[in-house]
């Protein structure tokens, strides 16, 4: 049995909407330097959805904040790399030029909408603020457009709720407000940083559906950051799995689910509870994510990896191209994938 080719990302080299090349970000703190992002490269084409998967501290949110240019500096510093948007490196732009990109070209929604919205201003005002400040709209026009946006994200009675404050909304409705705000300037790229983590399971599904629908309707590209494999399956075209500030595996969704080619991804998939396997202890990945101030030598996953050999301790694995645009940063990628298929 072979891996199914799913060429979701078949775009000519260099023509990507957004491309990260070998991005390095570090946090300089009093305790030392934490290498949070260590050479991340990924790309996003118009209209596609890339899921960035990883546990807390793997660097997925920091990568997103680096793209937006909203890292807290200090302590965070982009050490090297490129962030190409429409072929131009954002990192070489001035702060003012980067500000112009934010919201208008690349917009972002955050995990906890209650704290991400300003508690003392009505939601309509907050949506309208983007329009007034960035699109030069009048107060009345901004208000009208805010109602339209709230309708677009399916907030019932939008016109009546425009004067309400964030705390007067339910969690799901608040996240819809966040989405409406992010969509205000018709961005080409939407970065959703764990948009459903703070929500109930049923509401999670609604928000994911809404995001998928809106992405299609407005023809945006989306980067979906999550630690939840279940969230990814239905919406994403491709998945990039992050570990210790690196992309360890990169594949289209179907191939990845079918046959993960990195032991970490494999471990993640095996630790999802399954209804058809009963009476067995849930498998977990042993150990803890590495301390980013002391990343293990060689492959950073080696202390937790069941496939570990001496080479893993000595050498940093390079991205192994497995065909169909798949890569895996594992010395034994081929074996892991074959194991996964055999299972």
């Amino acid at each position: 049995m072979t891996v199914q080719p799913t060429p979701a990302s078949a775009t000519p080299e260099g023509g990507h909407l957004l491309e990260l090349r070998d991005l390095h970000v570090e946090f300089r703190t009093n305790e030392g330097v934490a290498r949070v992002i260590n050479g991340v490269s990924y790309h996003l084409d118009a209209g596609e959805t890339l899921a960035v998967l990883g546990e807390s501290g793997s660097g997925k949110s920091v990568t997103a904040q680096a793209i937006m240019g909203i890292l807290d500096t200090p302590p965070a510093f982009v050490r090297s790399g490129q962030i190409l948007y429409k072929g131009e490196d954002l990192l070489t732009r001035s702060e003012e030029q980067r500000r112009q990109v934010r919201g208008k070209e690349i917009a972002m929604i955050f995990q906890d909408a209650l704290s991400a919205l300003n508690p003392v201003f009505p939601v309509g005002w907050q949506i309208g603020e983007t329009l007034r400040q960035r699109a030069g709209m009048s107060r009345a026009d901004a208000r009208r457009r805010a109602v339209e946006l709230m309708d677009l994200v399916k907030i019932p009675g939008a016109a009546k709720r425009i004067g309400d404050y964030p705390h007067q909304f339910s969690g799901g409705m608040r996240q819809r407000v966040m989405i409406a705000m992010a969509l205000a300037l018709d961005p080409k790229v939407l970065i959703a940083d764990e948009p459903t983590t703070a929500l109930d399971v049923t509401v999670q599904a609604q928000i994911m559906d809404l995001l998928a629908d809106l992405r299609r309707e407005l023809n945006m590209a989306m980067i979906l950051i999550t630690h939840d494999l279940g969230v990814v399956a239905g919406v994403a075209d491709r998945i990039a799995v992050m570990y210790a500030g690196r992309i360890v595996e990169h594949a289209d969704v179907r191939s990845l689910y079918k046959a993960p080619a990195h032991p970490y991804t494999k471990g993640l998939l095996e630790s999802i509870p399954r209804l058809d396997v009963r009476g067995q202890e849930l498998s977990t990945i042993k150990g803890l994510p590495p301390n980013l101030m002391r990343i293990p030598s060689g492959c950073p996953f080696h202390p937790r990896c069941p496939y570990v050999q001496q080479v893993c301790v000595d050498e940093v694995p390079h991205d192994l191209v497995l065909g169909d645009g798949r890569t895996s940063a594992c010395h034994f990628a081929q074996e892991v994938r074959d194991d996964s298929i055999a299972r």
Binding site: I70, R102, V120, Q133
Partner: protein
């Protein structure tokens, strides 16, 4: 909100009677011979004694007599009559003269706290760990550490007497200029607290998630600070300043005493020193009302500033 205010007003009535009763009791219940206390060392003639006994209902003795006099006092109080001090002056008149001075002093102190404290606090909060931030920290700790009883005479001596930048004392019917130095001394404590509070609040709010959102909307930094951060940061500061205004309005005994300002605190202190019971009780009764009202205003203001707070 209306129900809340109504409930608070009813609570204020209780608090008012409670405090006046306690102050009245503390002042008069333990007094041995109030008439002799009034006369001091001089002898009191039987005619004088009879007159005063009747005037102050002193023939009623024991707990019953105490309550008789208390209710008599409250009855007058509710009619707006604060009675007379032992010196024979109407307490209403005394307060009418003293209060405007105290209010002016309080407003100067509050203005000092707002203009310097809040502004410096915002700057220190934005530039955390800068030289400016660290020097304000040292200065405010110094001010907070020095009691007014030390700070006021020092300021008076150096700025008033030695370098003669300000009039060293205010005297009766003081000008704005004469009240400036005492106002700064009085306000320095509020200033220091307001500064620390503003700094902490701004620093905390700058790290808030909604600031990250505002940045990702592509807003300019100045707008993020002035509109988003400041509005949130000032909620606790305004609350503090409101309570502080209530405190300042009730007079500053030490500052008014040192600078010889004929305000409420000055008169209250004189009343205590000369064992002028009616004067003390009269002033304190009014202070209680001022304090209760200013606290209610602060609580209402708090709800206006922070939409998350709703009183029901």
């Amino acid at each position: 909100m209306f129900r809340y205010i109504l409930r608070r007003l009813l609570q204020m009535v209780l608090a008012f009677f409670g405090t006046t009763l306690i102050v009245y009791a503390l002042t008069f219940a333990g007094q041995g011979d109030p008439i002799q206390a009034l006369a001091g060392e001089r002898p009191v003639t039987p005619a004088q004694r009879a007159y005063l006994t009747e005037k102050y209902n002193l023939d009623q003795t024991g707990v019953g007599g105490f309550f008789y006099r208390y209710f008599d006092y409250v009855k007058d109080l509710l009619q707006g009559n604060l009675g007379e001090s032992l010196t024979g002056r109407s307490i209403g008149d005394i307060l009418q003269q003293a209060w405007p001075v105290t209010v002016r002093l309080a407003l100067i102190a509050l203005a000092v706290a707002i203009i310097f404290g809040v502004t410096a606090g915002v700057l220190a909060g934005i530039r955390r760990a800068s030289i400016f931030d660290n020097s304000t920290l040292v200065l405010t700790l110094l001010v907070l550490g020095i009691p007014t009883i030390v700070l006021a005479p020092l300021a008076q001596y150096f700025l008033g007497v030695k370098w003669q930048l300000f009039p060293p004392t205010a005297g009766s019917d003081p000008t704005f200029y004469a009240l400036l130095l005492p106002g700064i001394v009085l306000g320095s404590l509020s200033l220091a607290t307001a500064l620390r509070l503003t700094r902490a609040s701004v620093a905390e709010n700058l790290r808030a998630d909604y600031v990250r959102t505002a940045r990702s909307k592509g807003l300019v930094k100045r707008r993020i600070v002035i509109v988003h951060v400041l509005r949130n940061s000032l909620i606790p500061v305004v609350t503090f300043l409101g309570v502080e205004l209530g405190n300042l309005m009730s007079g500053a005994i030490i500052t008014e005493g040192v600078f010889n300002i004929p305000g409420v605190g000055f008169n209250l202190f004189r009343g205590i020193r000369t064992e002028d019971g009616p004067l003390v009780v009269g002033i304190v009764s009014v202070l209680v009302v001022v304090y209760l009202v200013s606290n209610l205003v602060v609580d209402v203001l708090y709800a206006v500033l922070d939409p998350r707070i709703r009183y029901e």
